[in-house]
């Protein structure tokens, strides 16, 4: 990949509001991440109004482990994998990221509850995007 193409990708990331990009080819792996300086639109609402009841210090973000379409319910089920406020155990799948025929589970980082969803059902999310505010329990 030429340096010019990398600059184009970076510009496209900024235009699309993508925080991290990972590209894997037969003989290369490219990871681009936007600097912390740029404020993100999602941060305005994240952990703010909806999560006001919880102390922000305890809330941790759950980020996307891969790119894909966010599904909060398994395609066979109506019921979400984990509703907001529903207790889950560490490692339990709380959402799915669909890529074509496959789905990557998003695991709960600890025992706890989802406080707020930061992405819409069906939204295309990128690697590292914040999906949920999560409140761990002991």
């Amino acid at each position: 990949m030429r340096p010019g193409e990398m600059a184009d990708l970076a510009a496209a990331m900024i235009a699309a509001g993508i925080a991290r990009l990972e590209l894997i080819g037969p003989d290369f792996r490219l990871a681009l991440a936007r600097g912390e300086a740029a404020p993100e639109e999602t941060d305005e609402t994240a952990g703010g109004t909806e999560a006001a009841a919880e102390t922000d210090a305890d809330v941790i973000p759950v980020t996307a482990p891969a790119l894909g379409m966010l599904l909060r319910a398994h395609p066979l089920h109506e019921r979400p994998l984990a509703g907001d406020g529903e207790a889950v155990v560490a490692g339990q799948a709380i959402a799915l990221l669909r890529i074509g025929a496959l789905m990557t589970p998003v695991a709960a980082p600890a025992n706890g509850v989802i406080v707020a969803a930061l992405a819409e059902e069906g939204a295309l999310v990128g690697y590292g995007d914040r999906l949920f505010d999560f409140l761990p329990h002991d």
């Binding site: 066979l76 490692g91 496959l102």
Partner: protein
């Protein structure tokens, strides 16, 4: 190793089937839902013909004696690992000592009858006549040629590829097939099709058929409108394959399934196409379904669509594997 904890298991070791021994009168056996077996093996990085455990009576429990990646595909049976829920059509990792429990099949947007447990490395039973599938009639293959029972311990082969923890969008959703709101399978007319009365044929193609309790891996006995030949049909015993729809004197058809014998003497009205056998294999007893008439080209196109789905699962799984390796 995995150990069967359930008392009455009615589960068996199956791979894709034993297709090279039919000429010696040995039926194919093999997974009733081969897409479930393939999906599990692809997620786990197994050879596609690696053997798994087909479960048809629930609940079913196994204990892992060592750390293993595994997948549960097929019927959505509310599986849990040490009580933690697992997702249908998904792989996961088990630690030594953990217990996998498959509960009752759930009625959701798609309902299956059989679950498939695959393990990274595959169930390591001897290959007999080219396959690891259990041939119950001949009591060969699988684990001692029989259904599994409590206390059985199955060896697991060395994992050949990297397993990924992921789920597959079930083929029941990805490759839907219905007729008038009922699940359907496509059928090619067979040699004695035209020997049935016009009225019988119209009803065969246009009315629902119900899977009776006398249905298992050998064959499905159906209940529906009686089928009457124009004149009594006498046929000599001949070779048959899974999917063949025979009509005994009762006029109520029987569909040969994976453990069906390779010869039969009843007239054949049709054959469920190979690409749709998994659909039938997953239909629970009591299901009302429809036959949809197709010709040769449509049957081949259906097989291509099925194989295309498998290829797509493999392609995305390989992408995920590459990503995790990087």
């Amino acid at each position: 190793m995995i150990e069967i904890l359930s008392q009455s298991a009615f589960a068996s070791v199956q791979d894709l089937g034993r297709f090279d021994a039919v000429r010696w009168g040995v039926g194919t056996a093999g997974a009733m839902d081969r897409l479930a077996l393939l999906a599990g093996n692809i997620l786990l990085g197994n050879a596609e013909d690696a053997a798994g455990v087909e479960v048809q009576v629930f609940p079913f429990e196994v204990r892992f004696d060592a750390d293993h990646a595994f997948a549960v595909t097929g019927a959505d049976c509310a599986a849990t690992l040490d009580g933690v829920p697992l997702l249908p059509w998904s792989s996961a990792r088990a630690c030594a000592g953990q217990v996998l429990r498959l509960g009752l099949p759930q009625a959701g947007r798609w309902r299956g009858a059989r679950a498939c447990l695959t393990i990274a490395g595959g169930v390591d039973v001897p290959v007999v006549l080219g396959s690891r599938s259990t041939q119950l009639r001949g009591a060969i293959g699988g684990h001692e040629g029989r259904m599994l029972r409590q206390g059985d311990r199955l060896a697991v082969g060395a994992a050949s590829g990297a397993a990924i923890v992921a789920g597959v969008v079930p083929p029941g959703l990805a490759l839907p097939l219905e007729a008038d709101g009922l699940p359907a399978v496509r059928v090619l007319p067979a040699s004695e099709h035209d020997a049935y009365t016009e009225r019988s044929l119209a009803r065969f193609w246009d009315e629902p058929w119900k899977i009776t309790p006398q249905s298992d891996r050998y064959g499905y006995r159906l209940a529906g409108p009686g089928l009457e030949p124009k004149a009594p049909i006498e046929v000599r015993s001949h070779g048959i394959v899974p999917g063949v729809i025979q009509v005994p004197h009762s006029g109520q058809p029987i569909v040969q399934m994976c453990d069906g014998q390779p010869t039969g003497g009843y007239p054949k009205i049709g054959t469920v196409i190979e690409a749709d056998l998994w659909r039938l294999g997953e239909m629970p007893i009591g299901t009302r379904f429809r036959f949809v008439r197709v010709e040769w080209d449509a049957a081949l196109a259906a097989r291509e669509a099925r194989d295309g789905w498998v290829a797509e699962v493999r392609r995305v799984a390989d992408l995920m594997r590459a990503r995790r390796a990087a």
